[in-house]
């Protein structure tokens, strides 16, 4: 069996950044496995700009952002295999992969970094009634068709869901000559960035209907019309509010789900909130030597944060490998909890002895909060109380913990993040 120090599953922004930082940390034999025919992941089809403001202090398009990291991977001569599908990861880190050229084979990995990204929520998960004709696409599929393959999915479009990809595709298809008739959003607010609502919808006079959903799809062979209706506070359609739009295309932009089938096979413990692995301060899962980063861990809104997180995963995986594949002895472990408005935290636990001097903890809120406080409790004592003008589910939040502050408290058991009105 061939062996590598670190095997990285996925050659998107997370996998690329993890590979580069693991190499910088001194690991020699690194392999990236990518199922697409090129590196860069989903960034290649995100041709709009706005990436990289945090990392590079300039606005790049997706392909340009990806290239900055691909270039580093090439310069560092890090090995990668394209058109390669990983079929299985075992608990003792044997990776089973498959490709057209090499058939099925196994690789023994010193450490594994999960960087598979996420997938769009499909129609089957949305309970939309009506026929099942051609012409229904996830927004990301339409994005790939238009931007990479050069095909237009249709000419008259209705979009369900106001996630950023849906908003971006509303503009993209409008620029290419399609008529986007309406964007319907089930929730009373959009999960998309304000900038995208203004520059992708308002700029082109595309209406955004909040608290609306699709109640019927017509067309036996191909979509011919879509009916949307207003929903009540329980998200149930209100009879009598139906509006019918003739169209040939329905795009779905209804959320992203981390793609963790492989993680589960490896025995990785999953979070029910994020649908991603439960990780510690080193971004390591419950299976020693298996790390996770990027959208497979939790869905991010900015790729800059994916890169930063992946660099940490790469550095920590390197530390694990260079220590001979053994765990550093367990120290003082503290549990992180998200309560009253905060939905989850990444990581879920912190080993104070093993953590870096500063640790970024990321979390999301479950609703829109105005003029509220992000509070952090060390056990029962409130130690942070930061006023925020707005908190929204679509915007990832973060706090930074200092090792020396945590180490001061002898019997610290739990760190809790809460959203408080005052």
């Amino acid at each position: 069996m061939i062996s590598y120090d670190i095997v990285i599953i996925g050659g998107g922004p997370a996998g690329l950044a993890a590979a580069v930082s693991a190499r910088e940390a001194g690991v020699d034999k690194i392999l990236i496995l990518e199922r697409d025919k090129e590196l860069g992941g989903i960034l290649n089809q995100c041709i709009h700009n706005g990436f990289g403001l945090h990392t590079f202090k300039e606005e790049l398009t997706g392909p340009e952002y990806a290239w900055r990291f691909i270039e580093k991977v090439l310069e560092a001569k890090i090995e990668y295999r394209l058109d390669t599908m990983v079929m299985d990861i075992s608990e003792d880190r044997v990776v089973t992969a498959m490709s057209k050229n090499d058939g099925m084979y196994q690789i023994k990995a010193g450490a594994v970094i999960l960087a598979m990204g996420c997938r769009e929520r499909p129609r089957g998960a949305l309970n939309i009634p009506g026929y099942r004709p051609a012409g229904i696409f996830s927004a990301g599929t339409a994005q790939r068709l238009v931007n990479i393959e050069g095909y237009m999915p249709g000419r008259e479009v209705v979009i369900l869901g106001s996630g950023d990809i849906g908003l971006i595709m509303a503009r993209r298809m409008t620029l290419e000559g399609a008529k986007v008739k309406v964007v319907a959003e089930l929730l009373p607010y959009s999960g998309g960035l304000k900038r995208n609502i203004v520059q992708c919808l308002d700029d082109f006079g595309i209406p955004l209907k909040l608290s609306h959903t699709v109640v019927d799809i017509e067309g036996r062979e191909h979509v011919s019309a879509v009916t949307i209706a207003a929903v009540d506070e329980n998200r149930k359609p209100i009879p009598g509010t139906e509006e019918r739009y003739t169209c040939d295309t329905l795009l779905l932009s209804c959320g992203l789900i981390p793609e963790n089938e492989l993680s589960k096979k490896a025995g990785v413990e999953m979070s029910r909130i994020t649908s991603g692995p439960v990780v510690n301060e080193s971004l390591e899962t419950n299976v020693p030597g298996i790390f996770a980063c990027g959208n497979v861990l939790h869905v991010h809104d900015l790729v800059d944060y994916v890169s930063e997180e992946a660099q940490r995963a790469g550095a920590n995986a390197a530390k694990f490998v260079l220590a001979g594949g053994t765990e550093a002895p367990k120290g003082h472990v503290v549990e992180l909890k998200a309560e009253s408005g905060a939905r989850y935290t990444v990581p879920s636990t912190i080993d104070i002895d093993r953590m870096d001097d500063l640790l970024t903890v990321r979390f999301r809120v479950g609703d829109v909060y105005k003029d509220s406080y992000v509070s952090v409790y060390f056990d029962d004592e409130r130690v942070m109380h930061n006023k925020k003008r707005i908190l929204a589910p679509g915007e990832m939040e973060q706090i930074i913990l200092q090792k020396k502050k945590l180490a001061e408290i002898k019997d610290l058991k739990t760190i809790t993040i809460k959203i408080e009105a005052e």
């Binding site: 398009t61 050069g150 304000k194 609502i197 203004v198």
Partner: protein, 122 residues
């Protein structure tokens, strides 16, 4: 007097801002809750600009299209004219990031440049 309503994009607050104008001069900016909103509203009302991104057909490349962007902002009301120029262009592989696809698009003084690499094949 003219009134313009806009949504601030400075942060997730999305303040609804009302700008009052007369003869192209801003009389007042209201509804914003911070300085970012004031600056955004003034720019957006007097000189609205956007970056346009799209794709251009490539001949002889390892991919059928190359992604492109305007290297700077162009006036917002020229977006569709810019798209027409982009759609009329065909380029020959290879293409490198930053290669100029269109010079001075819609007389804006801004070039349209490639945003990814395409290798020549065949």
């Amino acid at each position: 007097m003219e009134r313009k309503e806009l949504t601030c994009i400075g942060c997730p607050m999305g303040c609804q801002i009302t700008v009052e104008l007369e003869h192209g001069e801003i009389l007042s900016v209201k509804g914003n809750t911070c300085a970012i909103g004031d600056k955004y509203a003034r720019n957006e009302v007097l000189h609205p600009e956007r970056t346009v991104t799209s794709t251009v057909v490539v001949d002889g490349g390892d991919k059928p299209r190359v992604s492109v962007k305007t290297a700077g902002n162009i006036p917002k009301d020229r977006i569709f004219d810019c798209m027409k120029e982009i759609d009329a262009v065909r380029v020959q592989a290879p293409v490198r990031i930053g290669d100029v696809m269109i010079e001075n698009v819609v007389d804006s003084g801004v070039n349209v440049v490639a945003t990814r690499n395409i290798s020549a094949v065949g």
